[in-house]
């Protein structure tokens, strides 16, 4: 462990004060094992209290601290600075309105989730105990339930940028998660919802979402299976 000098360029925006976002450079001394979040905390606590960013769990499960570092969408808390060297360029996620500095308005992101009926729909009577679901059936959806709704995928998706109506990878992944859940009876509804120009068909398998996902979920693959299901269902 050693202290190193790094140069951190941060995109700042203070509403009511800045006409548009501007870059600010900080020269800071940090431990070489620091994470991006450690660096932001150091700046906020020691250099400039006005810096705003989101963070909470510090252990890559809450999804608060997704942001763009040197062009990559990452979770600040789990990303060591040595991945990028001594020059950092930190910006908010693309495609969302900036509230302040690195904090973006994620309301539209969460609103999209609601469109796909993001909850288990059961039309049969509930069993006394649990539903029987085999490990193989669970395997179908297991990885998709890892999603932490950090929005790194949607912010990396070129199909999402020009079209704010597109459901985007996270909401579509959630649709996949329920359509392929052996306990769910709501597939017909959801498949109809995603069978739309702003649904699965707006996904052009660009793979950016997969590369951006901090949980390494194979999003593009699941969206392709969802497309296939839509086709099967409409035959």
């Amino acid at each position: 462990m050693a202290m190193i000098d790094i140069r951190v360029k941060i995109l700042r925006y203070q509403p009511g004060q800045d006409a548009k976002p501007r870059w600010q450079v900080f020269a800071v001394k940090v431990e070489d094992e620091s994470t991006i979040l450690d660096v932001l905390n150091e700046i906020h606590w020691q250099h400039d209290g006005t810096l705003a960013y989101r963070r909470s769990c510090r252990s890559s499960i809450c999804g608060s601290c997704a942001m763009k570092v040197n062009g990559r969408n990452v979770l600040a808390c789990e990303t060591p600075i040595h991945r990028f060297g001594t020059k950092l360029k930190i910006e908010p996620l693309s495609g969302f309105e900036i509230i302040k500095d690195l904090v973006v308005d994620l309301d539209p992101f969460f609103e999209k989730l609601k469109r796909i009926k993001p909850y288990l729909i059961v039309d049969r009577p509930m069993p006394d105990k649990e539903f029987v679901q085999s490990p193989q059936q669970l395997e179908q959806i297991g990885e998709s339930t890892l999603c932490i709704l950090c929005a790194a995928c949607s912010a990396a998706c070129p199909s999402s940028w020009p079209n704010s109506d597109y459901l985007g990878p996270a909401a579509l992944l959630k649709a996949y998660r329920f359509v392929f859940d052996s306990r769910d009876d709501g597939a017909d509804d959801r498949l109809e919802i995603v069978n739309d120009k702003n649904g699965v068909w707006r996904c052009h398998t660009i793979f950016n979402c997969m590369e951006a996902c901090p949980k390494k979920i194979k999003i593009t693959e699941y969206l392709s299976r969802l497309k296939l299901k839509v086709v099967e269902n409409s035959l």
């Binding site: 203070q14 906020h44 809450c62 302040k100 288990l120 339930t145």
Partner: protein, 577 residues
């Protein structure tokens, strides 16, 4: 700002503070009844720290071996070092199975047995494999599932709001005042019933598994309102915090068979808990670990030991414990398949909190006098279900079960009671807090004060405590409280003012930390997670009782009149594992 500004004045049947498991479960219950329910949270709901829970949720389903409600009850009583109230535990174990099946029916992707039922794994202090789990992301999937159900049932969400004062008068709750973090500005929430479900208070420590958000805001609000807190000195240190970071590596690792070893590669738990070994309760394991470190048997003589998963093999590690594997790799560059993982005790769970009865109604004294319309559930509450030490996987069960119970009683209360009138000048307390930080002339900053509090709490209020150290800690807190009066913030903007929020949180940390230290100083015994080197024995004769603490005229006042509910068949015994 005027109250008449309609935009900032909300009238809602039930207002729930906190969007973790307890808060969301309560909100769901109220919303399903047709009443209006609003959840106020500092963060987007899925960011709540219930999502950080990894290993499982306890319920005696007996899916993989024999188990019983009685066994769950006894294990919890013994785990609590006999300080838990047994009527609360009885209600808890009786509701636990229902809670898990209900979660499954809501869509929680539990890991499965070969025949398709909910899988269960062993956990510390439980006498049977009782932890229902989803890999090692159990809290995450429970939280997201509840959030989904809340969306389905039209729960209202006020995301990124910080509650600054409770509106109480004549022992009746009337609502609260909160700061809109995103846009700035105070909002009044006028409610028939209010639930405090704000989580734990672990951010008072430097080394902690807790999220940045876990600043004990709920307990501080209650203290501010002139109400007592209970058993605040009982804070659990989790034995497997990731070295230096303090973040959680689930007990599930040990449930699946991982070892803890010292510098001599010895499984040292054989000296401390020969029967249960690594699966002794957390207070026992953390003390053992700290003893090894203090006596020079940490790795290389340093302040950590090893969690060794290697013998579990690659397949089991990646299938059952993928998050643990990733955390060790990302944060310490340690490949847990090939290398042991450095760990140390980390401040983890707050057994103490806001006193309440089995109906989750907040009480104001040792006799159990109720504050009408005010409820509490989850980690911020002290019912007391966990007593002096909580068992792993009982926390998710606690939050969900008592969240539901809170929702049921709040619904009843709302149906029977109107909106109690707001007190005169409801904004004054909250406005005062903001004004002081914005227009004060002081030169102090919040960050160094918080750092000094946290470093000292970790040094003096950890696994082992003694009078001299705690008296020093009390003096530090007094000095920091004095310095806090001169704190101002750099950021004077309305929108997403993190500087302001952190300063407000620090006021809370300084407030309840004093209660923790005063309670720990007064309790001259060792019980559960509270261990005093100068009083190393449990003393049931004098201390089988709860601690209640108020702030009156700037001083902490303690009261020990609240006894422990003990059933004849579960009398205190010596606690061995």
């Amino acid at each position: 700002m005027k109250i008449e500004e309609a935009r900032n004045h909300h009238t809602i049947d039930a207002v729930i503070v906190g969007a973790g498991l307890a808060g969301l479960r309560a909100a769901l219950e109220v919303a399903k009844s047709g009443l209006s329910a609003a959840v106020i949270s500092k963060v987007y709901p899925t960011r709540s720290h219930s999502g950080g829970a990894q290993g499982g949720i306890a319920a005696a389903l007996a899916n993989v071996s024999e188990d019983s409600l009685e066994a769950h009850m006894f294990d919890t009583i013994k785990g609590s070092d006999y300080l838990a109230d047994q009527d609360i535990i009885e209600r808890f174990v009786n509701e636990a199975l229902k809670t898990v099946y209900e979660f499954e029916h809501m869509g929680v992707p539990f890991s499965r047995t070969a025949d398709g039922r909910i899988n269960q794994r062993p956990f510390g202090g439980h006498s049977a494999p009782r932890a229902c789990f989803a890999q090692d992301i159990t809290g995450h999937v429970l939280l997201h599932t509840l959030y989904e159900q809340c969306l389905r049932h039209n729960v209202l969400f006020f995301n990124e709001f910080q509650v600054l004062s409770l509106l109480l008068q004549d022992d009746v709750s009337r609502g609260l005042v909160a700061w809109d973090i995103r846009a700035g500005g105070l909002h009044i929430f006028h409610a028939r019933a209010v639930l405090l479900a704000t989580g734990g208070y672990g951010r008072a420590w430097k080394v902690t598994s807790n999220a940045h958000a876990n600043t004990g805001d709920g307990v501080a609000l209650v203290l501010d309102a002139g109400l007592p807190l209970e058993d605040m000195e009982f804070v659990q240190f989790h034995p497997t915090g990731l070295y230096k970071h303090g973040i959680l590596l689930s007990e599930a690792a040990r449930g699946e068979g991982a070892y803890i070893v010292n510098d001599k590669n010895e499984r040292f738990m054989k000296t401390y808990a020969a029967a249960k070994m690594e699966l002794a309760p957390r207070d026992v394991v953390s003390r053992a670990e700290q003893t090894e470190i203090n006596e020079g048997r940490g790795i290389g003589g340093r302040d950590y030991v090893y969690l060794d998963l290697r013998h579990l093999g690659q397949q089991k590690i990646l299938e059952r414990l993928p998050q643990i594997y990733d955390l060790a790799l990302n944060y310490l560059k340690v490949d847990a398949i090939k290398e042991p993982v450095p760990i140390q005790p980390t401040a983890h769970y707050s057994m103490g909190g806001i006193p309440a009865n089995v109906r989750t109604e907040v009480i104001k004294d040792g006799k159990g006098t109720v504050i009408r319309g005010l409820y509490t559930a989850g980690e911020t509450s002290c019912l007391s279900l966990h007593g002096a030490n909580r068992l792993g996987t009982n926390s998710l069960q606690d939050a969900a079960t008592f969240g539901r119970i809170a929702g049921i009683h709040m619904t009843e209360f709302c149906r029977e009671n109107g909106f109690a009138e707001l007190p005169a000048k409801p904004l004054d307390v909250a406005q005062g807090k903001i004004d002081r930080l914005w227009s004060g002339q002081g030169k102090e900053r919040h960050a160094p004060i918080r750092e000094m509090l946290q470093v000292n709490m970790t040094q003096t209020m950890g696994v082992f405590r003694n009078q001299d150290e705690m008296l020093k800690m009390l003096a530090v807190i007094k000095e920091l409280q004095e310095r806090y009066r001169r704190v101002t913030v750099d950021d004077r903007g309305a929108a997403f003012n993190l500087d302001l929020i952190e300063a407000l949180e620090l006021e809370n940390l300084l407030s309840f930390s004093e209660v923790i230290v005063e309670g720990a100083l007064a309790r001259k015994e060792s019980r559960g997670a509270h261990f005093r080197s100068d009083f190393p024995k449990r003393n049931d004769g004098e201390w089988l009782r709860h601690t209640l603490a108020w702030r009156r005229n700037g001083k902490i006042v303690l009261d020990f009149s609240k006894g422990v509910v003990i059933y004849p068949q579960y009398q205190p015994q010596e606690r061995k594992y």
